[in-house]
Symmetry: C2
Subunit: 452 residues, 2 copies
Amino acid sequence: MDLRELIDLLPAGTVLTDPDVLAGYRQDWAKDPAAGTPLAVVRATGTADVCTTLRWADEHRVPVVPRGAGSGLSGGATAVDGGIVLSTERMRGIAIDPVTRTAVVGPGLLNAEVKRAVAEHGLWYPPDPSSFEMCSIGGNAATNAGGLCCVKYGVTTDYVLGMEVVLADGTAVRLGGPRLKDSAGLSLTKMFVGSEGTLGVITELTLRLLPAQPAQSTVVASFATLTAATEAILAVTGALRPAMLEFMDSVAINAVEDELRMGLDRDAAALLVARSDAPGDHAAQEARIMLEACRAAGATEAFHTADPEEGEAFTAARRYAIPAVERLGPLLLEDVGVPLPRLGDLVTGIAEIAERNDVTVSVIAHAGDGNTHPLIVHDPADPDETERAHRAFGEIMALAIALGGTITGEHGVGRLKKAWLPDQLGPEVMDLTRRIKTALDPHGILNPGAVL
Amino acid sequence: MDLRELIDLLPAGTVLTDPDVLAGYRQDWAKDPAAGTPLAVVRATGTADVCTTLRWADEHRVPVVPRGAGSGLSGGATAVDGGIVLSTERMRGIAIDPVTRTAVVGPGLLNAEVKRAVAEHGLWYPPDPSSFEMCSIGGNAATNAGGLCCVKYGVTTDYVLGMEVVLADGTAVRLGGPRLKDSAGLSLTKMFVGSEGTLGVITELTLRLLPAQPAQSTVVASFATLTAATEAILAVTGALRPAMLEFMDSVAINAVEDELRMGLDRDAAALLVARSDAPGDHAAQEARIMLEACRAAGATEAFHTADPEEGEAFTAARRYAIPAVERLGPLLLEDVGVPLPRLGDLVTGIAEIAERNDVTVSVIAHAGDGNTHPLIVHDPADPDETERAHRAFGEIMALAIALGGTITGEHGVGRLKKAWLPDQLGPEVMDLTRRIKTALDPHGILNPGAVL
């Protein structure tokens, strides 16, 4: 494919073809071994560049893999041979309107940058993937990303009021806007959220913001058994809506304690970290209710603190679990979710899968919303162990589906999970998905191989 | 069209053809004068009946107009000549899970019935159209209905976690489920919410519920000018997130006072009713902040009350505004919304449109989210006045679009507003909408003439 036409159509320096540069854009954090080598990376400076690139690609039938910060964990931004990687990392504008509590943001801003910018106006953008310091807001919208606060505050789609998105043929359209209510036409904004770059490339987002989150009270509780912990989770969520309710198993507790030395109970089977952000005294009241629920479920140790720094330290410990467990070896990172009453079945079932396949699986979870991240430790240099790890990876998804759950709560399907998507959705929904994909991207240039 | 095959395929008594019965299903509350006479009304008893009806209709190319409670205000359920009206009014199952705070409901349940059933479990389904005692939950989902609480709690789509929907060819599919997080595949659930029966017929909904709403404090404030009132609205929403922030203009105040005799200030240009549901004492604190904001904006009279009955009386007065104004004459009911900072321009612009066209327009509004219901009073027996009323109807939508708003915040486009939809969305988004419609309903049998 002759790139000269595309290079001439775009601003100087936008199209990168240096092999060393291309190598850095072949994979996202999923480190998909099947990644190809792209023809070029286009680092768009604005919507016009995205339009130009897609118009050219559609005409020449060149695959385009949209890419945010490259922090995806399902291979949604895995490059394909002969394709273009279209990066939105340079599209970083932001305009905040404190009156309507909305922000118009470029997709290349990091989640943390959005949070910080709006915080200067006393506002809060809730969705908080653990990777918030390195994931882009555009990628968050493309995967319908979640995080720790979702149990009370919902996921990315709940905060996207509008967008500009460029369709496969290079047409830019505006959907929605800074309005809490809009019933005019199909809910297209919501359809593009979570579409993982298969229907269009998001070039701008209009986000709904909340007033700054009140100070939080935090509860930390250890349990001698997984069952006691999952019973405590149901007791907590049955009593109130926590602002956060996180879970770490024994492997994660010990991996974190190895690194952070903060006195976590190394003998515990599970640790819960729960928070309340109810206004004023109500946070402490809710913390006490959660504390009692944990004790009634058999917590071996439990305490609460209204000290923001202490609470944040335990939250940070939970966020640190993935890198800590990664010290034990490379991870296959799962993202399955189940309806909350099935969480106990999921967690005990995962332990059985780990044992049967003779692999270490550490489970951490956004427990309050039933979304778990089983971390499958394996040595890629050991083919047998790698095979067992991948078998466990598939069995965990099958288990989640059997429990009425989902193969991905917040990371997206990408390329790593697409083989299991039909098992969850069924042939009719797959067909429906394909019909929409074909209607919007008839030449199949947008992120081919992802999701479908 | 020979109905015998359909009658034989469905349970006895499901297909109604009595002309008197058909007459009652020709129109919804929009009273579309262009309504046709259907071949038959199918009152489905369950999903299987919906599948059978659509399979038959798709094969024979018979138009199907889905219908909930018939309380729609945009003509989304206007019958078409030679078509089937497919009513879900008999599909009224409900199963509530207090642990996951979800309910699985049949589309034929009224919004109020859902609210009451979940309240028995200490739970709350927030969306609250003013018609909540007579509108169906299926229709709420089909129009992405809103209400008074949306300023804080969002709209119907924010509470729909999953659904069963029957596609044009009669295939039933399940989308989403009782999970707060799910990134598996396209966000199809959200796409069907607000699709006004043009893409499928919703046969079951999985709803997210909240804990029961805390007791509310209420602020009532009168203003001598529209501008003072809209300034107060911005001051209130700038200071906090009210649980409700409603507006009535002078015509509405007097119409309500004529009926209810509750001592509303008949000389006021506008009345605001605002509520806080912050926990415990915080509701009264927030009420005081709102009271001060109203006074600072020049309220002529303002007070707050923590008495639930008194607060509810003023909320009921606001809800009663539409029937009260209707006593002045038949209404053309508008539903335009704008970004909140443009609300003042919208309200004053509507007054100019009313004067220019010599018609009475009463404005009531879910002011906190920028969604207004200008009520255009006119006498259908007077062709000249009717023409002026319809001209004002169109001019108000054009004004909303010019102010960056929407032609419909919560009622849907239906048939009454579709002529203005392209002005809001533009040709590219209309084309995108048509491509999705064609992909999902290739023979165009589902609610033809609505939206598109």
